[in-house]
Symmetry: C2
Subunit: 423 residues, 2 copies
């Protein structure tokens, strides 16, 4: 394995991660808060441009705010690798940046080794993968591929009432040009995203790496409970229509429905109380539902079951419910031929070959995930693959998310070999 000039590791971590370790730290929540086009995200973008330029790549920003760092002339049938730099509120150091930094390291390593690619190569940074600012995950890749209507996207609003169109204009983009970018997406011949694993899959498999097989169907729904705001001391229990009680019943219904649906997950992780005073019965509570299941239909059924359970539980509260779908992502099955070819590039025997005593089966495990990714959005339009790097805590979207330096280096090495095999 070729190393960078200054080695693949720096300060005990994958080189590059150390350089952004202080950007966007969130003292209140712990971890990092890096949201689209706000201070830390802008700092990370500037860092990426500088870092990519330093290894000889030419960086361009597309009309949706995604960054592309090209090795040589941009062109058709390109091999693209990368991930994202934004985070959830109080997220970990690896979710997103590991894929970007690994891509930069792998490309730098190939360049340093004098490798001459036969196809254009780019390292990409997708915008707003987590949907932490505007509520729709994978917003940059959805806009790029046309998976979200541009008019709907332009009118998305952040917590301060700023629209995506306004934020894009502030970031130097032309908001009228947001939306499907045929020129940019048509150049992509293959997309490979390396990502820290977000569950316990690789712990259980005792493997540092896996290749993605599929992503659960998933979506986000906004649940608005409306009751009657009133005085917490002067209003008897019998007189109340308290949307906080309605939301509490709903949260329990969400869990019950998810437990009843095989291999499914449903979560309320964000909740807003209006007006939010200690001595005030709320008038409105907004809860965001994240629901995921192994098929589109099962996810739709799960959400329908959740809504039915909530409406049943709501009857005694005197409150009303409005449900709004904020985003939807159908189940993704990554192209098994691409995955197989990349697995073989890693030195594994084909999955279809029968093992023998002479040549024992060696392969990179396949892993399904419940986490959404830009590679899942791109998989609908171009051949795409993902590599997962083991997370020894099994915890993600949290400061406790982690990856051992040795596993990160194994990830870069695997990515480099995959690139060699297709270039």
């Amino acid at each position: 394995m070729a190393l960078l000039d200054h080695g693949m590791l720096a300060h005990g971590m994958l080189a590059g991660l150390d350089e952004i370790a202080d950007v966007g730290r969130d003292a209140a929540r712990g971890g990092y808060s890096r949201h689209l086009w706000q201070g830390p995200d802008l700092e990370l973008r500037a860092w990426f441009i500088e870092r990519a330029t330093r290894i000889g790549l030419d960086v361009e920003t597309d009309r949706n705010g995604n960054l592309w760092a090209w090795w040589g002339e941009p062109g058709e049938n390109a091999v693209v690798t990368g991930s994202h730099l934004d985070s959830v509120p109080g997220g970990g150091a690896y979710d997103g940046p590991l894929g970007v930094v690994s891509a930069l390291n792998a490309v730098a390593s190939l360049k340093n080794a004098g490798f001459q690619p036969s196809r254009p190569v780019a390292v990409v940074v997708f915008a707003e993968e987590e949907g932490s600012r505007f509520g729709v995950a994978c917003l940059g890749s959805r806009l790029l591929t046309g998976a979200i209507d541009a008019d709907r996207a332009r009118s998305l609003v952040d917590r301060d009432g700023v629209t995506l169109a306004e934020a894009a204009a502030l970031a130097g983009l032309d908001p009228r040009r947001l939306g499907v970018d045929r020129e940019a997406i048509d150049r992509v011949g293959l997309f490979i995203e390396l990502h820290v694993e977000q569950g316990r899959g690789l712990i259980d498999l005792q493997s540092p790496l896996a290749i993605a097989s599929s992503i659960l169907a998933h979506g986000r729904w906004r649940l608005t409970f409306t009751g009657q705001g009133n005085h917490a001391g002067a209003t008897t229990m019998a007189e109340r229509r308290d949307p906080m009680v309605a939301a509490a019943r709903a949260i329990l219904a969400v869990t019950e429905a998810a437990v009843a649906s095989p291999d499914s997950r449903a979560t309320v992780g964000r909740l807003e109380v209006v007006p939010g005073g200690t001595n005030v019965i709320a008038s409105r509570v907004i809860a965001w539902l994240d629901a995921r299941a192994p098929s589109d239909q099962q996810t739709r059924d799960l959400v329908a079951d959740i809504e039915a359970r909530i409406r049943l539980a709501l009857a005694v509260t005197g409150c009303s419910l409005e449900v709004t779908e904020e985003s939807w992502s159908g189940v993704v099955t990554f192209d098994p031929t691409v995955a197989e070819d990349l697995s073989v590039a890693l030195g594994g025997t084909p999955l279809v070959a029968a093992p023998s005593i002479a040549t024992p089966r060696i392969f990179t495990p396949r892993l399904s995930t419940g986490a959404g990714h830009d590679a899942g959005v791109l998989a609908a339009v171009v051949p795409s693959a993902m590599v997962f790097v083991r997370n020894p805590t099994g915890i993600s979207h949290s400061p406790e998310e982690f990856a051992e330096a040795a596993d990160c280096v194994a990830g870069v090495s695997a990515l480099e070999r995959m690139l060699r095999s297709v270039l």
Copy 2:
């Protein structure tokens, strides 16, 4: 009844209320958000000083930020009337300001009529009655009377991490001088607070006014639920320790316990989720409990019952709970002799006199309330009374809080007659 120069009504409402009708409107929540020493509160303070000065009163700010507008020389055995100008988040137009404006109108009316008081008179505005900024209700009157420890008060923190000491310094006060103010409180011979009613008591009594008999014991407790933050998609339902589920169970336990305790109320009206991302299982949820009951012991028992129910419900969630008392107010019984004297001043027959056919019993009804008030804090150290004005919606701490102009005028008239009777 004497009227002000320009009449008791302006723009269809009690004169004075019209002048502050646009201060601190909250577009997001509806109603008003007027919190201690922030923009709208500062504007209201400036307005009060100007308004009081215009009718010939001399305004001073005490060491705790309460405003006193004196008619003549400040001195011992003063008759003081007033209320507060701050609001809950998204509160109504009457809770607090009605008492201040009624006091100004009553004093102006007495002055205009050429009345010569035999005792000093002051109109008071207490600071942070709602506890919306620093979490402790009646903070200004508690500091004045020593009902809260000054060191504890100085270290109270608002939602932005600003301490009361820092905010007081910014407001031009000496934070070292916050705390019991013997000079100021020893001057008060009688305190009368007029306040909009916050429940349906006067609707049921079909009366525009009532005199307060008692205030429920009440307090605030912060409930912190800690679990394990994680990825909403990659974490199976079985692996979770989700504090949002714990908080939901707690909210239902709060309601169940309050319903089981006679004449009690318990509410969760404020809740914070950390980190608060849609695709993130929370790591911590903080819920604020407001609990009230007819006696101190019953309130303590209610909170103990709530905590026991929550701990039982928590077992299945794998989350932990920390309970912190933020404030406590014992039950208040207003001095019945003072109330009786003021009732007689309104032309009512004494409650103890037997009615006859010749002189039918006429009296102002007595009303107990579940809402805390500065008069409840002052009642522990000086003779205090309250007058409630009918609220035809029965709703308070909400934009729907209301008082008919005719009932407001009846309130000012009653306050004026009460002042005449003791001056």
